[in-house]
Amino acid sequence: MLALALPLVLNQYLQYVVNLMLVYILVSVGFNIVVGNLGQLAFSNVAFFGIGAYASGILTTQLGMPWWLTVVPAGFCGALAGCAASIPALRGVRLFYLAIMTLAFGELMRWLYIRTPGLTGGSMGLTVPEPAVFGWMLTNEYQKFYVFLFIVVVVVIATSRLLESRIGRAFLAIKNDENAAAAMGIPTGQYFLLAFALSGFVVGIGGSMYAALVGHLSPEDFDLIQVILHFAIIMVGGLGSLIGSILGSILITATPEVIRHFEWLVGSEEWIFGVAIIVVILFLPRGLSSLLAKVNPIFKDRYYRD
């Protein structure tokens, strides 16, 4: 609830950063469904992000749809991409084979952004008109904030309901022992598809928010630095933890802003995130949320363990 008061204290620029954090909360919540809950390594997240963003962009520029109407379709495009990325799972492809496949899928997507200038503006990029909600134009960061906050809250609550249910349980069961999960009657291949589709939906919505936030999309926005960004958020926050996604998003999104102030560090995001992940794996495998859970039980969620 305190969050609602933020626009009163922040200037436009900082508000922009907070909005970016909201975008990445969705990105990481979605990513965690596949990596944290289902327990699979996948590189497709940036592909879902980009597809959602470009879907919003294309629908607003080419079909003239107002932005708010493109949010859910962007999610569906992400979900569709999720299905496509996980079709091999229906045939029994697992582990690093699946990871490599998603890597190939992600790179293929990036190649497509550049090679279909008719749709995506190619390397020149796509300029997205100012986002409109029910006829109102969102002209400043504060307005965007309230809209984004609403979307994030709705999506996160819906996601947490699914993850707490038998569906989330099935994901975790598959993560722990897929054979045993199948022996419980869980159709594991279909659940792979479901996890990827859900992930794609959530991340796709994040993508459409990103389009509204930055106003101009180009293929470089969805390159390999994005990939490590996504991994850094969920690792630092805590795999599979919703609270971790929020913490991780805040911390990792703030990092480039902090770096900006140190001349010698400019351009270092890549290796800093790499080192952060290494440190987390060696010393704090369950991420920040596990650390905070020791301090205050509020931060406990299913992955907390001492």
Binding site: Q40, L90, M101, W111, G274, I278, I281
Partner: protein, 328 residues
């Protein structure tokens, strides 16, 4: 694309003479893919870790040479006259190369000892993410220090072309670079074969490939040998990286480019198969060139993606691999 395929089929006679050139060039680059896939397979067989950061270590090999070159030339020039005379027989490039391979060997050793070994018993996900993170850390540092502009590798030998044979008015050429690459890789394959089958080290490694636990039970110091194997794998990769650097240019993003082609080769050949990695690499090299000319230049980039996706959908174990899918 359909029109392109149709035009190829109708122009078959006209385009056929180009085929040998494409195959030859394809084999040349395929040799590099093969070497890199081989180095990745060695790491995978030994420690069952798929090193997602390997591409970046390969890239590091090229940059290591680039960085060491000026230091080596400087030093050799300053040596006393007697040593300097001797040194002038040994090209600085070779010295820098050997130093780079040693540096990458050390890196591979340290990476395994410090970052991989402690978490080997944990979830596979952490291992994969550790490898990825190491790759990114390496790439990030390189990009920050040297990535601002496209750099050129120092060339130890001139650019030259040789005509192999002529067919229908089209000559099939091979550059000196390509011949040296093929030569180097063939020599490395022979050395690897001899080391694996004839030396004590090779036999121990083979035992470890079969079963780590069994090996430790008979007294093999698994950690020590894994460290060495990682050193060797990264060195081999670095050699491939240097050659790739000569063939292309120095670019921090070569890492993922390499990784994907390495994976494509391993997937096609069958994960874990040493022969498969080599043959897979050659086939992909040839496919890239042939499809790139006969169908569309797009294939130069996307062949490896398509190979991965299609092989995993149709025959996941590749040519020589073993079970890769779950019965679900």
């Amino acid at each position: 694309m359909i029109e392109q395929i149709q035009s190829v089929l109708t122009n078959w006679d006209a385009m056929l003479p180009v085929l040998p050139q494409l195959v030859v060039s394809g084999i040349a680059i395929g040799m590099l893919y093969a070497l890199i896939a081989l180095s990745m397979t060695i790491l995978y067989r030994a420690t069952t870790v798929v090193n997602f950061g390997h591409g970046d270590l390969v890239m590091l090999g090229a940059y290591a040479l680039f960085i060491l070159m000026p230091m080596v030339t400087f030093n050799i020039a300053v040596e006393s006259s007697a040593l300097g005379l001797l040194a002038s027989f040994v090209p600085p490039f070779l010295v820098a190369l050997i130093l780079s391979l040693l540096v990458l060997f050390a890196m591979g050793y340290i990476i395994h000892r410090v970052f991989i070994w402690p978490i080997l018993k944990g979830p596979h996900l952490s291992l994969a993410l550790m490898a990825i993170a190491i790759g990114y850390a390496v790439r990030g540092v390189i990009r920050k220090e040297y990535g601002k502009e496209v750099l050129q590798m120092p060339r130890p030998f001139p650019e030259q072309e040789f005509e192999l044979f002529n067919w229908g008015g089209f000559g099939t050429y091979m550059t000196l670079d390509e011949m040296i690459f093929c030569g180097v890789v063939i020599v490395m394959l022979l050395i690897s074969y001899i080391v694996f089958s004839k030396t004590r080290f090779g036999r121990i490694v083979q035992a470890m490939f079969q079963t780590q636990r069994g090996s430790s039970l008979v007294g093999i110091n698994v950690m020590h040998y894994n460290n060495l194997i990682w050193g060797v794998g990264c060195s081999l990769g670095a050699l491939g990286g240097v050659m790739l650097g000569l063939a292309l240019a120095l670019d921090p993003d070569v890492g993922v480019w390499t990784l994907l082609r390495g994976f494509a080769a391993m997937t096609l050949g069958g994960f874990g198969s040493l022969y498969g990695a080599v043959i897979g690499g050659l086939i992909i090299g040839i496919l890239e060139k042939v499809l790139g000319v006969f169908i569309s230049t797009a294939f130069i980039e996307i062949t490896c993606y398509l190979v991965i996706i299609l092989v995993l959908l149709i025959r996941p174990k590749g040519l020589f691999g073993q079970h890769a899918t779950l019965r679900i």
